[in-house]
């Protein structure tokens, strides 16, 4: 009974995530796309929770649905939410020919390995005994320490790059404006 309810909730949230992602690419105005994207990210965070990844769910809400989407909305407010004019181009038929092939390939490649046994050491009982965040932290700071430090260097580099892009005024007509 509990298992059936769990499966139903997972399926409903997954379908909601798919519908929200359709909303992202079909809305004419970027502000509605951003709102649908927030919905999609919240659905995925709920799915992370249902798949026993509480820490990643919290990070998803804070970083993605919070910081990144606030940044998007700021930029949309700054640039103005103009609708794009409809013109016919060759990209649409190309997309509708290319993407089903991609989808089929993804499903084939992913189902080929579906019967893999659960070999890892982090069983649900072990993670439940120490807590998900602690388990992720121990793993992150022991086996994955170097990628973690590299990520911090990447964030520093991105910060410096953005300050450089934003600080110096854009050239207009080949002449720097002060």
């Amino acid at each position: 009974m509990f298992d059936l309810a769990y499966q139903t909730i997972v399926v409903v949230i997954g379908i909601t995530a798919i519908l929200a992602s359709f909303g992202v690419i079909l809305c004419a105005s970027p502000i509605y796309s951003a709102l649908y994207l927030i919905g999609n990210m919240i659905c995925l965070a709920l799915l992370f929770l249902l798949y026993n990844a509480e820490f990643i769910a919290a990070v998803q809400i804070i970083v993605y649905a919070g910081a990144v989407m606030i940044l998007f909305l700021f930029i949309i407010a700054l640039l103005g939410a103009k609708k794009e004019e409809k013109t016919s181009s060759w990209e649409k038929p190309a997309a509708f020919a290319f993407v089903p092939v991609l989808f089929g390939e993804l499903l084939m490649a992913l189902t080929a390995d579906a019967g893999r046994p659960a070999l890892g050491q982090f069983t649900e009982e072990l993670i439940a005994s120490v807590g998900n965040a602690q388990a992720v932290g121990m793993e992150l700071f022991s086996r994955h320490l170097i990628p973690f430090e590299l990520a911090s260097i990447l964030l520093l580099a991105a910060t410096v790059g953005v300050i450089c892009l934003a600080k110096f005024p854009a050239k207009i007509g080949g002449r720097r404006t002060k």
Partner: protein, 99 residues
């Protein structure tokens, strides 16, 4: 159901993101489509980390979030610079590299 469901949802959202990236011409919406694709991969990694009793998938997802945050910040700064220079955001009209 289990892992099949995870990879179906993930592949579907990834393909929707790919379609959006190709057919839209507003660079902001193209960026949001890239975010969709990154998020779908995160979901796949987290789902499989449960099914294989391993935490590596969750740590990968965390690092993907870091890279995505850095990428969004730099990309939006570039879009803002292009807008300040040209007053136009349609990517079809951007056909010269010179500022």
């Amino acid at each position: 159901m289990g892992s099949q469901f995870v990879l179906f949802i993930s592949a579907t959202i990834f393909c929707i993101g790919a379609v959006g990236f190709i057919i839209r011409r507003n660079p902001l919406i193209m960026f949001m489509s890239v975010e969709l694709m990154l998020n779908s991969v995160n979901f796949l990694l987290v789902g499989y980390s449960k099914f294989t009793n391993s935490l590596d998938g969750q740590i990968f997802a965390l690092l993907i979030m870091v890279v995505a945050a850095a990428e969004v910040v730099v990309g939006l700064a570039i879009i803002l610079t292009i807008f300040r220079t040209r007053r136009d955001l349609d990517v079809d009209h951007l056909n010269v590299l010179k500022g």
